[in-house]
Assembly symmetry: C2
Homo-oligomer: 333 residues x 2
């Protein structure tokens, strides 16, 4: 920690909304700087302040362009928006095409938008435990919406579902085969499904295929034009049931902005539902539980492993001890 990183000063500056302070705090937290403990404890006091929206799906689905559109939507409402991108193919992290990058980065100079790529800091595509601390920094900064963009390969240390309040799974009509082959787990994780890059030709089939793959009944598909002009690309709508949320399948063309207003309404409806049913509180509890679990795994296990000496490994090789006995000794000391 640099001399200028006085913790209480940094915390105060983040709470005042200073982006430079948030950027520095994020670096300390994500790098697991030993001195970041005090910061993490303080920032945790803001935990739960934002709606955390996970945007996941295969590379090339247009997650970043969609994220850019959602930023625009929330900025129009005057909300401060935070983006954490852990997708190495994301334009935010330097991947993808220059055009995409420009479309997202146009928000980078907006003082109401805080964008941070985490892909180069130990999160190569997948989520790791430091995502929790990063989120709390942005919550302390005053972000009402935090978008976590990730590939979500199922190989992540941390599951997006244990991080986000609302998980948006993004795919495209061209990815039909991929959807069929998709693991059940990936499908179960989504609260909202988006068929992006949906043009008139492929849209209905793509939405129907995805609904079918999700095992959703067709009965709940909204009638054409039900939601007015914004619903033109939307085949299914939000129809929360008494006891369960049937994931809406929403068609968008993020590049032109079509379907984004509708997606925004769906995300609002999901937040409302999280709040009214108590499910939001349960999810927050699960998130805290996961954060605690990773804290324990990381810190305690690491400290234990630091005590594994070359001699103790030699003792194992010589069968003078065994893993269980050695493990217990390490923890007693």
């Amino acid at each position: 920690m640099r001399r200028k990183d006085d913790p209480s000063d940094l915390i105060a500056r983040v709470r005042r909304g200073e982006h430079a302070a948030a950027a520095r705090a994020l670096t300390l937290v994500v790098d697991e700087d030993p001195a970041a403990d005090e910061l993490s404890r303080e920032f945790f006091k803001s935990a739960g302040a934002a709606q955390k929206i996970g945007v996941c799906g295969p590379p090339g689905a247009g997650k970043s362009t969609l994220t850019g559109r959602l930023i625009g939507l929330y900025r129009k409402r005057g909300l401060k928006v935070g983006i954490l991108a852990v997708d190495p193919s994301s334009p935010i992290t330097g991947g993808a095409f220059l055009g995409d990058r420009l479309r997202v980065m146009e928000h980078a100079t907006d003082p109401g938008v805080f964008i941070r790529s985490l892909a180069s800091r130990g999160m190569v595509g997948g989520l790791t435990h430091t995502i929790f601390g990063a989120i709390h920094v942005l919550e302390a900064l005053g972000c009402g919406k935090i978008i976590v963009e990730t590939v979500g390969t199922g190989q992540d240390e941390v599951d997006i579902a244990s991080v986000a309040d609302t998980v948006v799974y993004v795919t495209t009509p061209a990815m039909g085969d991929e959807i069929q082959a998709m693991k059940a787990g990936a499908m179960e994780v989504g609260d909202v499904f988006v068929v992006n890059k949906a043009d008139l030709a492929g849209r209905d089939k793509a939405v129907a295929d995805l609904r079918s793959a999700l095992g959703l009944g067709r009965a709940s598909a909204a009638p054409a034009g039900h939601h007015g002009s914004q619903a033109r690309l939307t085949a299914a709508s939000v129809e929360p049931r008494e006891s369960s949320w049937e994931p809406p399948v929403c068609a968008t063309a993020a590049i032109s902005g079509e379907g984004i207003e509708e997606l925004g309404k769906i995300l609002d409806a999901h937040l409302e539902r999280l709040s009214s049913t108590g499910e939001g509180r349960e999810r927050l509890k699960r998130q805290h539980s996961a954060e605690l679990r990773f804290w324990i795994e990381r810190r305690v296990v690491q400290r234990a492993l630091d005590r594994v000496t070359e001699k103790s490994l030699e003792d194992l090789l010589a069968h003078k001890t065994d893993p269980a006995t050695l493990g217990r000794e390490i923890f007693r000391s």
Copy 2:
């Protein structure tokens, strides 16, 4: 633990080579029966006794048929062979075709062969930490060779490379595209590569493609006929260098048995090399280190998480505490 499972009796019976006792001990160890601790400690004394051969690769590559052939090869030498199958598509675990299953299971009544499917015991395709304990049971039983058959998807909790002394990666000529798309990690893990189901038509190209994908020079390819008739299907041979092992690429037709003798020689050469260079000792140390790590993660973290009360989660929600503070408190108590 049942009444009849007196630990010292069970241990003695396993050491005498009783399969029924080994089967019972394996169940206790893999189920992590609390009373299995004593067994694990005892069986660890046999750690390192066997050459552990990992057979991995995509489903349909013929891993089980190849495993069956290796069993036959080692049985001819009079060695006791243990097989741990964690591949749900393996005929051993009930998947694949009846013909394949019969080919492997023909060894099941051989008192010199111990076969155990672990796929239904918490290892659904991937390796988990209990594999270490299972291996030590088979080592105590007197197995000189232990074959661990796994899909090796890269999503496993435990990497085959931290379990096996020698990793055999199996593929087929038809899986060319798959090889191209294969992750570098999967390629790096193999000590020996097998192009199985190699017939005259596709064999040379398949071996060349694989060598190319592996970044291996063509200079070391053995001249045709160099190894006599068994080498007919073998394009490359074992050529250990002074300081590094260039993974041999071996062509086999496991269903007819062609190339198996050659593969056996390659596996012997790798074992010899592990021994002569000290690399075997280093690998064993890494295996023990991984086993210790998983013991610590599993037992200690689990015990810590057992102490996480509903009240402590409520305290997190109310920001009365934070994960780091709570984590420390749990460990102090």
